[in-house]
């Protein structure tokens, strides 16, 4: 028995050395920026969890900035600039972009619940629903980029941190991260984990700006779109989504959202994103939305003035602020 235990102990001890070194590296570098609070999350070089950044920004800056107007949705909300939105709001409005990557209805609902529970006024709200992601799940999302902040999901902080530690310990991440950390050179194999674009988060409104994209378009728009011609040349016959995605749980969440907005006397608009794919929102789902939020739903899916031109998009997934500005002008007319 003693021999067995000695050998087991030796095995564990030797095995612990690299794990301990990796853990020290994790604590030191904090690659996902989830271990410590940061005054500014801009210029991340590891693909960030946007939900975490938005929620942290809200929790730490809410008192200082007196937020009372919110934009909810996925990364497509980057088409709606808080400065543009402010033109249609009272002078006292202090907008905050409370978005998340591939934001779900669960995320929007739990964020509203958090704001409401903190007694922060919700005078204005812009909810951006996407056909492909908003109603994909009615639970907390999984995965490094999408898992929700514990303050909104209600899940344990330990489980949340474990997700990141697990992602850190994957060999592919370790290889990508440390190669970049030591060489500061981006290579194609790092694509999944290393962010090569320069991303800036506004310290007040939490608005995202991807500098490279805007600079490239401003510098030479023809070249920008020529380089992405293949991305935009996908077949996209105009059709209607045949899958109804809003289930009973999601319906309850929508009712919950409505109750919070009513309680706060919120002036709100719901925009169904103009996605380049030109697929119309599922009619049954749209009917549910219009039934719960009558007169508040604005459908920009399918073929329209925005989706007809690739120049309205950064790439096939994200529309540009000019589109957001036009939509705001139409819905606040």
């Amino acid at each position: 028995m003693l021999q067995f235990l000695k050998r087991l102990w030796k095995f564990l001890l030797i095995g612990m050395v690299p794990i301990a070194l990796l853990l020290l590296g994790y604590l030191y570098f904090d690659p996902f920026k989830t271990l410590r609070p940061y005054a500014d999350y801009s210029y991340p070089y590891v693909v960030p969890n946007r939900d975490y950044i938005s929620t942290e920004a809200f929790l730490h800056r809410e008192k200082q900035n007196q937020y009372n107007a919110f934009i909810f949705g996925s990364s497509r909300t980057l088409g709606f600039r808080p400065d543009s939105w402010r033109k249609y709001l009272p002078d006292t409005a202090h907008p905050f972009v409370f978005d998340a990557s591939a934001e779900s209805i669960f995320g929007i609902y739990t964020k509203l619940k958090l704001i409401d529970s903190m007694k922060v006024p919700i005078n204005n709200a812009l909810l951006v629903f996407c056909r492909d992601v908003t109603f994909r799940t009615d639970k907390n999302s999984t995965g490094l980029l999408y898992i929700k902040h514990p303050a909104t999901s209600g899940e344990s902080k330990l489980a949340f941190q474990w997700s990141f530690l697990k992602a850190y310990l994957s060999p592919r991440f370790l290889f990508s991260f440390y190669t970049y950390e030591f060489t500061h050179k981006y290579r194609p194999f790092m694509k999944e984990y290393i962010e090569k674009r320069r991303i800036v988060y506004d310290k007040v409104s939490n608005e995202i700006t991807i500098l490279d994209q805007d600079e490239a378009i401003a510098k030479n728009p023809e070249q920008y779109y020529a380089e992405r011609k293949q991305m935009f040349s996908i077949a996209r016959p105009e059709r209607t989504d045949s899958i109804a995605r809003i289930n009973a749980n999601m319906k309850q969440m929508l009712d919950g959202i409505r109750a919070i907005l009513d309680r706060n006397h919120t002036a709100y608009k719901i925009v169904l994103s103009p996605l380049y794919e030109r697929v119309h929102f599922n009619p049954a789902d749209k009917q549910i939305l219009e039934h719960i939020f009558p007169q508040h739903v604005y459908d920009y899916t399918g073929n329209n003035q925005f989706t007809s031109s690739m120049y309205n998009y950064y790439e096939s997934n994200h529309f540009r602020p000019a589109v957001g500005d036009s939509i705001l002008a139409q819905i606040y007319r």
Binding site: M1, Q3, F4, L8, G15, W162, K166, L169, S170, P171
Partner: protein, 479 residues
Amino acid sequence: MLFNSVQFAVFLPIVFALYWFVVNRNLRWQNILLLAASYFFYACWDWRFLFLLIFSTLLDYYTGLRMSSAGNQSARTAWFWLSVGVNLGFLGFFKYYNFFAASFAEAVGALGWKINPWTLQVILPVGISFYTFHGLSYVIDIYKRRIPAEKDFIEYAVFVSFFPLLVAGPIERATHLLPQIKRERHFEYQKGIDGLRQILWGLFKKIVIADQCAEYANLIFSQSGHESGSNLVMGALFFTFQIYGDFSGYSDIALGTARLFGIDLLRNFAYPYFSRDIAEFWRRWHISLSTWFRDYLYIPLGGSKGGNWMRVRNTFIIFLVSGFWHGANWTFIVWGFLNALFIMPSILSRTNRTNLDIVAQNRALPTLREFLSIIITFSLTVFAWIFFRSASLAQAFGYIRGICNRSLFTVPDYKPGVLILYIVLFMLIEWWGRREQYAIAQLEIRFPKLFWRWLFYYLAVAAVLSFAGGKQQFIYFQF
């Protein structure tokens, strides 16, 4: 408590330490500890069903004693049928009641009468199929006078409830396990090392292979109506490796854990995907269940002693019952039927016992003929798994229809490089170790240098840790 959970990682060392350091000098206390640990392990699922397990244990223990002491054959038979009836009654109620009620309502509905089936919200007690079969084999063996009744309740209760095998087998026999429980057990270094190695290999199969395949299999099966033929083939393949990694991984962890306590359990898997025909596949897949059906159903029905008709009838019966054992759904019954159908050529030509040894026993590679036989057998198995995995027969037929069109010849959308690499590596290791109890059993002989052996272990641990945390349920727990 799942084998792949943090709770089990805490539970196992505590029980191990108590077993070898506190009660190591007393067999009685060792068995009491194993029983208490097993009941705690089971209560972690749902403490209410612990009473069902204890009742079932008491029933078989008591009827065993009464059969043994019965003065005449009719009393003996009466006690035997009481035990069988109550055991199957519980199994039937918890597992099959809703299925029969709904099927009856459907059948009556087809005749034009409409009735609302009185279904119940019955929760299936985890492991009920396994411990019921444990108990049944015990009472049948006593009834057939193969073994004497066990007089010591603690020892009998450990035989039924020993935690490594409690929820998903292997389905043990009293003749094999009870003598080990009654015998004094001393720690053996080699057995301990072997146990840990087998646990590691089981965790690798479960967490790295099965759980990762499950993500793709679940996704593809959940939207099978919208997937291309090539994607559906990938889905069926992912499920094929998922179920093997999941169940054989579970069995490896169970066997390894039992070995840490000085107990050897029955082997449950012997490289089934290297089988050259379906008969061989069934000698290598879920061996403890196959041999249970062989000994307690096939042979009592007459086995292969009669003519062809008798052999065909008995084969269909055991495969249909085996399918039904897996779950109350027509998909399992069709899965059993298909396997019976696939085995028929070798049953009728009496070649079902030609491939008894592992393929390429004394060679590194199979012959072309063997290789083709393996591919054909594997393909038939994959096809049958479609029924096993589908939620309904309609989905299974839709799935097969989806495969059989021109989109079968398109490039699949699901081709996760890392996972495919892991599967290839896994199958290569399985091939390399196919002559052993489990693939890495002889690592010490193949890698005499500690460095290489430990490097292998560390890499396996790293792979397990990098995928750990999902805590996916084992498929066979639902049976």
